[in-house]
């Protein structure tokens, strides 16, 4: 057994906790999770059945923690998990799983399959079987501080550009601000307009806000690859920045897993409660709307639909706010089939979009989104996740569907009267 495999198996043994043991024992092999997974529904290949993606983990559980499994192992009747097998499973655990949580949502016995996949990723990562694309992101996170290699000068350049474009200041390291705004690498690199939209909205709402020079990056590569220590380190960096600036609320950007990492798992990852609140930007906009702080004018009149990011809607429970915001600025907002809690993933979450070799499968899986869109034939598609946005654009381009994709925060900001900005 190689040293890396030995390490991986040790980690797998360690991550098998009471919930995982009970989930394996509870599975009734009904196959409902298969029908909930777009990689299965769009390919028809049974290897993409979510619970099957965990087979090596199940075998480790059986061989190490069940009486029968131990006896079988002792007399050589069970097959040990090998490097070759884990290598083969890489595609199933990373490329074809976006951690979207649809499988967990439909499981009739309540198994949280996403939880299990993430634990399995810990062992895959420790044994060196994570995809190169995600490993690269992790290495850059460790050495540079950002999975896409974004450094502070690049953020400052974007701030300067946005200040010119919108004519509003972008505060940096403003101690005592009410809100600390986080950005995902994707927004810094591809969507500077997001920052401009924030400036406009905060200005109109009369709220103080700031970016943090030591914690501008929300993306958490540790969560994607399956490395809790790294995930915790990245959360700790944000906590340190927020506490140094004494902010009341940290705003997670339009980035799905960044929200899950910070909002739902952050305190557990660092082992203590936060001294501030964490909200997704859509939650903050929803609050501003309710408080009458979001005054817009005019309406979009073309047919718009909304793609719910999985981590926001399904894993985070934020569903009504985006609809209420859409209705504030859109006259013709239509829902796709399965919209909201059971929306289908774009196909690129959970680190999948960083895996170059996974692209053909992603495009195949995108047929599910295509079907959703074909059902309502929108003129434009709105979403609230920078990664979804690019994956959607790629899919639409591949299938030659002329549907522009826009961010909800930016669309709201466009309806804020100039005089308020």
């Amino acid at each position: 057994m190689s040293a890396s495999l030995e390490k991986g198996i040790r980690v797998l043994k360690e991550v098998i906790d009471a919930p995982i043991a009970s989930y394996f024992n509870s599975c009734v092999h009904c196959g409902l999770c298969a029908e909930a997974c777009l990689f299965y529904t769009e390919t028809g290949d049974p290897k993409y059945t979510p619970i099957h993606k965990l087979e090596p983990l199940r075998r480790v559980y059986e061989q190490e923690y069940t009486l029968l499994g131990r006896l079988k192992k002792m007399v050589g009747l069970s097959k040990p998990v090998t490097d070759g097998e884990l290598d083969q499973w890489q595609e199933l655990v990373y490329n074809s799983c976006t951690l979207c949580g649809r499988c967990s949502a439909v499981c009739p016995v309540g198994n949280d399959i996403v939880y299990m996949v993430r634990k399995f990723r810990e062992g895959m990562s420790a044994s060196g079987h994570a995809p190169e694309g995600i490993k690269g992101a992790v290495n850059r996170t460790v050495t540079i501080g950002s999975p896409m290699g974004v450094k502070l000068p690049a953020v400052k350049a974007q701030m300067k550009h946005v200040e010119e474009d919108y004519g509003l200041p972008i505060p940096l390291d403003a101690e005592g601000a009410e809100y600390m705004v986080m950005l995902s690498s994707m927004e810094i690199i591809n969507f500077p307009e997001y920052l401009g939209a924030i400036a406009k909205i905060m200005h109109q709402a009369g709220k103080s806000w700031t970016l943090c020079s030591t914690a501008f990056e929300a993306t958490n590569a540790g969560m994607q690859i399956g490395n809790s220590d790294l995930a915790g380190l990245l959360v700790a960096r944000i906590v340190e920045g927020a506490e140094k600036l004494k902010v009341k609320t940290v705003i997670s950007p339009e980035c799905g897993h960044a929200y899950t990492a910070l909002r739902w798992e952050g305190a557990n990852l660092i082992g203590r409660p936060f001294s501030f609140e964490v909200k997704h930007i859509i939650e903050v906009l929803g609050e501003f709307q309710q408080q009458g702080l979001l005054k817009t004018e005019g309406f979009e009149t073309d047919k718009l639909t909304f793609h719910d990011p999985c981590q926001l809607a399904r894993r985070g429970g934020v569903i009504q706010q985006q609809r209420s915001l859409m209705n504030q600025v859109a006259k013709n907002f239509v829902e796709m089939p399965d919209a909201g809690y059971m929306n289908w993933c774009c196909g690129g979450g959970g680190g999948a979009s960083a895996i170059e070799e996974g692209e053909p499968l992603r495009l195949e899986a995108f047929k599910k989104k295509k079907a959703q869109l074909d059902a309502v034939k929108p003129d434009r598609l709105v979403t609230a996740c920078a990664n979804c946005r690019i994956v959607l654009e790629e899919g639409l381009e591949h299938y030659q569907m002329d549907i522009p994709v826009i961010g909800l925060t930016e669309m709201i900001a466009e309806h804020i009267p100039q005089k308020g900005a």
């Binding site: 690269g136 999975p147 690049a154 550009h161 995902s184 500077p192 993306t219 990664n387 381009e397």
Partner: protein, 148 residues
């Protein structure tokens, strides 16, 4: 009087007709085009620069430029190549030049901003600071356009 700030620049651009906006926008983007060198973008800029362009030709140019924009996104988790990203913003600027216009759109301003972003990405790639004279060059181009 020569334009020397963004307020006057934006306002002057907004006062142009859509066709004029496309023409001057194409000139802004021509300046940063070497950061991309994508043939689809060149076609879009040529189309935007023509006063007699037909809607169907414009639509084709818009589609091709948009494809170049989508293909040049830096994907989530990939290492950022700021030179390539400059090319992405050139594509985004080109899309602004040829996209279907709606009332109130300031296509030329959008193109100018994306062209500046392209130049900024170039300076980030070079590690030479982010100061550049793109805005001043755009003022000069607009002045020349208005006086021609």
């Amino acid at each position: 009087m020569a334009i020397s700030n963004d307020k006057d620049f934006k306002s002057a651009l907004a006062s142009l007709s859509t066709a004029q906006q496309r023409q001057v926008a194409a000139r802004f983007v021509q300046r940063v085009f070497p950061l991309s060198n994508d043939a689809r973008i060149k076609s879009a800029l040529d189309a935007a620069g023509r006063a007699d362009i037909a809607d169907a030709e414009l639509a084709l140019a818009s589609q091709a430029a948009n494809t170049a924009r989508v293909e040049s996104f830096t994907r989530c988790g990939r290492e950022t190549d700021w030179n390539a990203q400059a090319g992405h913003f050139v594509a985004k600027a080109a899309v602004a030049c040829v996209k279907p216009a709606e009332a109130g759109d300031n296509l030329a301003w959008d193109a100018a901003m994306q062209a500046r972003m392209a130049r900024t990405c170039q300076t980030v790639a070079e590690g030479s600071g982010t100061d550049n004279r793109e805005a001043e060059e755009q003022y000069r181009i607009l002045d020349a356009f208005l006086n021609s």
